[in-house]
Symmetry: C2
Subunit: 355 residues, 2 copies
């Protein structure tokens, strides 16, 4: 295979910074390589000697699709992003992003410090032409229906135009990873009346109506609608999106724990729980974020996926799969094209376009 | 009892606009009168003749604590708030608010159009001196620990100073209804580092630090923390609060339905569900919003409680209880005092105070 081709589809995996250590990341990589034969190359970024030893343990030290790229430092979860980027130039996180910048890789998968990853990727890879701020997209699993939330926290102070860009980004990404070629795009607000909410919502709504021949914009939606299979892509600002996402996680974790405790409280209930175990397993399977772990930072020149710091090997495998599919699907090019088209329509109707 | 005293503690109940009709509201009133002997007077606001007949049915037509105040119109759920207020001056919603304005009642309980209730109450009763916008406070039930979310949707574009006011309002209300005299106040943001989030969060944080000898301000919290018993009062803007609250409701409803369906899917599971029924009942009891139904619009001159349009008699009873306790506790006076004190501290440190 030509080297250029190989670089374009190569995935840099930041092996450091996850809660379970680099060994778990390496095991996730092993799963991915075994399962997805069309992966060209995975570049493990981290301390060379340590990684070599880990590869030996999983019998991957001679896999031709694996390369190690040495990095001596680790950005810790608790570090301040900008400071960490400045002080840890030889960290696995910074080196991984640089591999994409240099054209040595097409994508990064990282479990590390979210703020540092987003800031580093934005500064080094730069936003796509026509976009001011990238957005984090995350799949929220639900009953029968998963939906995409964008922005989950990259850009807390989003303008109306930036919200419209989030819609374009979400539309393209959704089509790339979920089997629905015309996802319904809803704009999250309070009260579904047209024009209700804030000024930026009204501006975003106007923009989205203009590009509704390009995307399937269904209009404003309320929080009530999120889990109701009304919209496939829920568009919001990074502040609201982050608060909604994390509150949902917090609620789910607390209530699952509560139910578990209550089910174990008496022998009767314990027996009941055993008999109805299938129901809980079915729910767990359906609601596990495993299959769509890896939230991409969309709208930059390159594919950067953040997976949860606590991700196990299965989550890491899924993130690598999504990165690989995104590269095969030319996600970044599609985004560049989609944004250019969207901006042209908005600018045509009002010169100059203001959010 | 002196008439003035009676008016001060009187509760106007808007009988129209709920999904279950006025008869259910009347039954809720009957429950409240039976259970809470210290209620002085409930003024039922709605069509006089209809209400008289309903009272006969529940044997309340001779209860001396009941008065009917005639109103011929109904504000529907779907109506635009400002338009409805202008066009339906003889609606039960408008008349109920006017009873407080005229000093004939101390509080309003309504199941009707939230937007119209908030706009009407704000315009007619006016915000408390020193406050620009009122905030909607709602209790979110959780495992072992309920927390108060403020603002749940009244003021979508909240400034830093307004967020600090929400904290003061939430603190006073929490102490009035929940058995904790020093509630922990958290400021909802993305990332718990100091200064992270948006500019208004940074401003609110500075204000709150200054008044932290008056309230138990624990600092910024993330969505992850909401259900973790970290804070008793979660302070946020009306846009984020509304999106978080309604997404949680949407998630809970969808997943409860999912679990129910899965538990009924096979005879084994059905049997299991019967055996472990106690666990589900315990959860339902703990998580029911029944005991704290009624979200007050805090920061106006008067006590206005909104309860869910679908509230049944038990929810209505609880809302009346909360209204009665709020009146007995002199909630509005406490709020006036708390805001004046808070503003004085903020203004002292920076003249003039800007949000």
């Amino acid at each position: 295979m030509a080297n250029a081709q190989r670089s374009r589809y190569s995935i840099a995996v930041d092996t450091m910074g996850g809660d379970r250590g680099a060994a778990e990341v390496v095991r996730g990589v092993a799963l991915a390589l075994k399962e997805f034969k069309d992966i060209d190359e995975i570049i493990l970024v981290g301390p060379k000697r340590m990684l070599e030893q880990m590869l030996k343990k999983v019998d991957l030290n001679k896999d031709r699709r694996l390369t190690i790229h040495h990095a001596s430092q680790v950005v810790e979860m608790s570090e301040k992003p900008i400071q960490a980027l400045k002080q840890k130039k030889d960290s696995s996180l910074v080196r991984s992003i640089e591999l994409v910048k240099e054209g040595r890789a097409g994508a990064v998968v990282s479990l590390g410090n979210t703020g540092a990853l987003m800031a580093g990727a934005t500064l080094k890879l730069r936003p796509v032409k026509g976009i001011e701020r990238p957005a984090l997209a995350t799949v929220i699993p639900s009953h029968k229906h998963h939906f995409l939330l964008i922005d989950a926290g990259a850009n807390p102070e989003t303008t109306g135009l930036q919200l419209a860009h989030n819609a374009i980004l979400g539309n393209i990404y959704y089509k790339s990873i979920l089997p629905n070629k015309n996802p319904r795009i809803g704009l999250l607000t309070i009260g579904s009346e047209e024009g209700k909410g804030t000024e930026r919502i009204a501006t975003a709504h106007e923009h989205l109506k203009k590009i509704s021949h390009k995307i399937n914009y269904i209009g404003p939606i309320e929080g009530f609608d999120t889990f109701k299979n009304v919209a496939d892509v829920v568009v919001t600002d990074g502040f609201t999106g982050n608060c909604v996402l994390k509150s949902l996680e917090s609620c789910f974790t607390t209530l699952s724990g509560f139910l578990k405790k209550e089910l174990g409280a008496t022998p009767f209930r314990q027996l009941g729980a055993v008999l109805s175990k299938g129901a809980f397993t079915a729910m767990k399977d359906q609601l596990s974020p495993e299959h769509y772990s890896g939230a991409p930072l969309l709208g930059i020149n390159g594919l950067v996926l953040k997976t949860h710091g606590s991700s196990n090997r299965k989550f890491i495998r899924s993130a690598i799969r999504i990165a690989n599919e995104g590269l095969r699907d030319d996600l970044t090019k599609k985004i560049q094209k989609g944004i250019a088209e969207g901006n042209a329509i908005v600018e045509e109707s009002e010169a100059p376009a203001k959010a």
